[in-house]
């Protein structure tokens, strides 16, 4: 078999690099692939120049674009579906706020069901992963998170629309946030062992801290007065985390994105219901409808 020398490899490498492949993670393999192809042509009697010309179509910009697309579809199809569900649910949630000002309406219910489906999908995905450390723990925790999240919102929906008891709605939902965020942290640990990306670790840890912070409002009622401040902090951190994840290229980020969306959903339904009363203690204020169906009570 004919072997290319270093200067010939340099020429091929230069030609490939001219196609601006900075973001192409497989350029090393492409180089070896093109080299093999050229060697094969040369084996059959072609000169290096002829072989180079005959193989040039392999790394043309148009071809690379096609290859990149193929890589995205095959490697990230699942992530694409997950992101799609997240954005659709965000749209529904936004719609719910725009048209009904955050009331537990059907549009909001669809958004929460979509996110619940995604949580369930992640439980299944974790379960199907081979060689995933702490797999059982991750699957169990994500399943519990999914069940609590769904029950919490369904309960809220029934509470505000059909006068069901809603005493445990928010604790259940916030607890599901805590469980899901802990799952995220364990999942990162399982994925990267000791070399967790600092940013991913920060985002994931922040979610656990914020979930704990929200839960303190139930354990220590005096902290209720800080709910508006908490909400601003949570939303600020969530927006920053969401944007940072957008620019980060790493495995595990789509699950973190889901956790952020879950927590944002919860904050947006939690905060408007808790307004500071003049005596600085906190009371729940239900939907601003003239005929409130549910009596005033602390969760």
């Amino acid at each position: 078999m004919h072997k290319l020398n270093n200067s010939q490899i340099d020429i091929i490498s230069k030609n490939i690099n001219e196609q601006n492949l900075k973001s192409f993670a497989f350029s090393n393999e492409l180089l070896d692939h093109v080299c093999c192809r050229i060697e094969q042509f040369m084996e059959n009697g072609s000169s290096f120049e002829d072989a180079l010309n005959q193989s040039s179509h392999l790394y043309q910009r148009k071809e690379i674009r096609k290859i990149k697309k193929n890589f995205t579809i095959i490697l990230n199809f699942s992530a694409f579906i997950n992101s799609f569900i997240i954005y659709v649910s965000l749209l529904f949630y936004l719609g719910s706020w725009i048209f009904r000002w955050g009331q537990a309406d059907w549009i909001g219910l669809v958004a929460f069901i979509l996110i619940s489906v995604l949580l369930f999908r992640y439980s299944l995905l974790f379960n199907s992963e081979i060689n995933l450390k702490f797999k059982k723990t991750i699957v169990i925790l994500s399943s519990i998170g999914f069940v609590l999240f769904l029950i919490g919102y369904l309960n809220r929906f029934l509470w505000l629309n059909f006068a069901f008891s809603g005493q445990h709605v928010m604790p259940v939902m916030l607890f599901s946030w805590l469980i899901i965020s802990i799952t995220g942290l364990i999942y990162l640990k399982a994925l990267f062992h000791k070399k967790i990306n600092g940013l991913l670790l920060w985002i994931s840890t922040m979610q656990v801290i914020l979930a704990c912070l929200s839960l303190t409002t139930f354990i220590f009622p005096v902290t209720m007065r800080y709910i508006p401040l908490y909400s601003i902090i949570i939303i600020g951190i969530n927006v920053a985390s969401f944007l940072l994840l957008y620019f980060l290229k790493s495995k595990g980020k789509s699950f973190l994105r889901l956790i952020i969306v879950c927590s944002s959903f919860m904050v947006f339904i939690y905060t408007p219901h808790k307004l500071l009363s003049p005596d600085t203690s906190c009371k729940i204020q239900f939907e601003a409808t003239p005929n409130e169906k549910v009596p005033n009570s602390n969760p």
């Binding site: 270093n6 393999e29 492409l30 080299c35 071809e63 290859i67 095959i74 490697l75």
Partner: protein, 113 residues
Amino acid sequence: MIAKELFKGTIRTIVLQLLAEYNKMYGYELMQTIEKKSDGKIKLTFGSLYPILHKLESEGLIYSESETIGKRVRKYYILTEDGVKEKENKVLEIKEFISTLNQLLDDDGLIHA
């Protein structure tokens, strides 16, 4: 040439089978072997084979070893234990599918092999 749509879902299994057969292979070698073994009826491209190799690697079914050859790096792919199990299951599954397909098409008189 066999239409891409027909063998699309089987490339993973073919790759696993070849890696089980040859122990370790690199991308170009896999492509050439598939083409040769299928008498040129199955031709893969860089864009159709390499994403599958990376996907199999991310699923823990194969792992890679890099080797520097002059100024280029070659990545060899090797089956993991899970990959061996997966290969056995998938090959059985495909064989069963082919026999069902034969049965179905034979009954209609469409295959006269």
